[in-house]
Symmetry: C2
Subunit: 350 residues, 2 copies
Amino acid sequence: MGVGIGSVAKMAGVSVTTVSNLLNGRAERMSPETRQRVMQAIEALGYSPNTSARQLKTGKSETLGLIVPSVANPFWGLAAHEIEKAAMARGYNVVFCNADRDPELERRYAEKLMSYGVRGLILGSSPLSFSHFSSLVERGLVIAAFDRSAADADISLGCSVSVDNRLGARLAVQHLIGLGHRRIGAISGPVRTASRIARIEGYREALQAAGLPVGADLIWEGAGISGFGDREGADLGRAGMRELLTRAEPPTAVFVINDLYALGAYAGARDMGRSVPADLSIVGFDDILLSEIAQPPLTTIRQPIAPMAASLVDALLARIQGGVEGDPIHLTALPELVVRGSAAPINQPG
Amino acid sequence: MGVGIGSVAKMAGVSVTTVSNLLNGRAERMSPETRQRVMQAIEALGYSPNTSARQLKTGKSETLGLIVPSVANPFWGLAAHEIEKAAMARGYNVVFCNADRDPELERRYAEKLMSYGVRGLILGSSPLSFSHFSSLVERGLVIAAFDRSAADADISLGCSVSVDNRLGARLAVQHLIGLGHRRIGAISGPVRTASRIARIEGYREALQAAGLPVGADLIWEGAGISGFGDREGADLGRAGMRELLTRAEPPTAVFVINDLYALGAYAGARDMGRSVPADLSIVGFDDILLSEIAQPPLTTIRQPIAPMAASLVDALLARIQGGVEGDPIHLTALPELVVRGSAAPINQPG
DNA sequence: CTTATCTAGTGCAACGTTACACCAGCCCGA
DNA sequence: TCGGGCTGGTGTAACGTTGCACTAGATAAG
């Protein structure tokens, strides 16, 4: 049954130590002929090392954990894929978990991952607090956040990367202002994460800096809506846009918290008989795959996901491998405005 | 450092066996007071079992592997999430891998997974052949395919589930025929998987059954296009539609192999000045999240992903747990036509 | 000739867990 | 009083791997 290091050793006529030495990059400790024999035995038996045993012995693991709200969300799907690529390139595997932003589920997953020997955990869509991880952090888990900005870091956060969400939102809103819009709304949705809060702040800042109105009547936050999943992502954007357009003095342009919501907002605008961008300008955030082929192609803020993933994995690995030395590492990536067809100069009604 | 079963035992004043018994559902073998003491010790020490050690000892693992082309593709992202839910509900974890349909990468991942103790592997988007897995199957790996039909099963396939792809395609094409279309094209793309082949067969069958023309000039297969990734999914649909519409006698309706391509085909149609559905009807396949909010909402064939995922996980677990008894289990799910706005009665030009 | 150094290995305890094989008391019926 | 069956445990050998601590034999230096 078990073809292990032992069977290989027997077949090659050497000790298990020698096989182990070959397997662990100490090939110079044996003659070329021995090396050859061992390698042939490995090949012949189809031997592959038992990771559990290795992990048990060394206490190290070449595996990183990743918790995202849901991989069914195109943005997190792409982020997950890029994180996996970056980890693989450094010899690490990643195990994905979909936790639907449920703190209790996140904690259970993290615990499970630790029991698998995982020491590094990447969190997508950071909750406001990491307190549910604190006991795990005490036990040696290093947490890396994918979308959290440096400023509001938590004690137990090992490292983080995010696009400058405030700046991104400002860019989006400034674009709208440049197009002549004066009543600019925002659709945010009921989930309060670090990144969403920063985006809304950026939105407010840009408006204030331009001396434009910024009131609750311009923002839809979907208060009271629960049972949020990703199926509902676009639907919430749709609902939000519909509600915003039925208010007393509706905006002529709206900044939508992310592209999935923005695509939903397209549908909401259509539902209300508005044409984008003729009657209503929209700008999103993220630049997901589908934004380019949407009709009209979505003007949005691009996050450089691949470099962000690579940097975060580097930082996390440095912390895991080099011990817990020094302060948390925080990285900020620059957002980029991608002008496409969903925002147009204001259509002066009078 | 290592808080293991041993420290718990010491703290509770019992033997390691007793702790192990409690941990493995043999709680009735000890007095309530002992149980209480052990549980308090577990709590106090923050003990969590070491999965590597457990796996090493038992040879079993509560982990399933899943290889998909890319989780950045909305369809596979959703499928992955549903598979994870189904597995979790049965006490299993799943490790996701994105292999970009590269057989060599698939094999490497599968090997890695086996070294982690994984005995059950779910494959999304089945390649035509499973030969690259044969040596792993000999070593005890059970393979389950998510989108492969019963008919064309490979020796090394343990179980499978798929929607009836032929029927789904027939439904789609019959819908178009019912709308009065007579020149019905198809966009398939360059990747040849079991499911795509079946869909194209269904398309041909429906056309033949209705006595309609079915020729190479109606089908775009993207021959010669390489470097396929998911970024290109929608782009290929766009390119395909453009090419189809520049041919001598373009179709008035087209069946697109999946929704991602179909959304790209929308863009391709716009590029060529055609309006959907007024000038051109489109029907897709899969019913991804975004299809409903696209403009026009996409008429498509829905796959019941959640039940499919649950059935496949059940079948796979039965095979892993119950030994390799009997023939492969194959399940077929029924596709459903979802009529939305992208297919309309033919616009008679004369 | 002795001692040091190098080459090419070997032996073994440990990592945390499980489960088989035990066993000390106690109670009950005969 | 003995035997049998409970109850509530305990002792320990593995599982496959690693890496420290060794060493036999050859060669080199003094």
